[in-house]
Amino acid sequence: MGSIYRTLAGGVRRDIALTCLAVWFIGLSYGAIAVASGFPLWVPAAQSVLVLAGASEFLFIGIVGAGGSPIAAALAGLLVNARHLPYGLALPDVTGQGWRRMLGSHVMNDESVAFALAQDDLPRKRAAYWACGLGVLICWPGGAIMGALAGSFVRDTNAFGLDAMFPAVLLALIVPALRDRVTLRAALAGAVIALAATPFLPAGLPVLLGLAGALALIGGRALA
């Protein structure tokens, strides 16, 4: 832990702290929504620790809360989380070996991956990845449990523009990579394809389709 702290520049530490704070607030609304949909506290609590992937948890709560089958909801959630496989392929060895790899893989999420990609060398990538991953591991369940306990006391957090924070955090982290012309073209192609597919496909598939489309259009050779 001490070495994670020392390896990261103060600015990066502050950015990760802000990101975790935003995750905490989103967790707050997640817990409140879960309880309002008729789930007992342990459901968002267990999911936030064991699944630790917000979008799929919201989807699970939404499907089951509306009367859908929990197994169908889990499969829909898995589709949303399939992007973690290519995320893991994209990162150099940030997780480590043995139990570290178990925990390190578990804390893989959009934010920790984006923070790792934004750093220059392996030690900094590793430190940023772990700091953000562990921070989210604390803040997401913390927010979810507090939101579930507070229940209806939690007002609509969207009123404060919190729903704009998640895309803004990711965008801020990938902008340096997008300054590369070819990457930018591929990313824009992928985004357009994913957006066009969103009304028609189940959640999770549009992102994967966007990647496949971008690779086909721009070509793997150009991106390599």
Binding site: V43, R83, G88, P92, D110, L171, V175, T183, L223
Partner: protein, 107 residues
């Protein structure tokens, strides 16, 4: 709530499957030595997916349009990020713009 056993089974399925996805990437990276061009391609692939995720979470809600306030906020953040504004400024500006627009009655 529905049958508790089924919900527990659903949560276990989702957690175990998600962990499998998360373990697969690092395990493969450890076993196979990728040439530098492949590593670069895989990193670009992650950036493409994150960009697609930004577009979807900024512009859509469920299968429909998210309204104007959120995309406008994210756009403001994006412009600031492109002009190399600090992370904190980007994120606060995005949330602030969205909040102010909602306060003004925009969806």
């Amino acid at each position: 709530m529905k049958d508790t056993t089924l919900v527990v089974a659903g949560i276990i399925t989702l957690s175990a499957g998600t962990l499998a996805f998360r373990l697969a990437g690092p395990a493969l990276r450890q076993r196979v030595a990728f040439p530098p061009w492949a590593e670069h391609l895989l990193e670009a692939a992650a950036v493409v997916m994150l960009t697609a995720l930004v577009a979807i979470t900024a512009l859509t809600k469920g299968h429909g349009f998210a309204g104007l306030a959120r995309p406008a906020g994210v756009l403001a953040g994006g412009v600031l990020a492109w002009r190399k504004a600090p992370f904190l400024v980007v994120v606060i500006a995005a949330a602030g713009t969205t909040a102010v627009l909602r306060l003004l009655g925009l969806p």
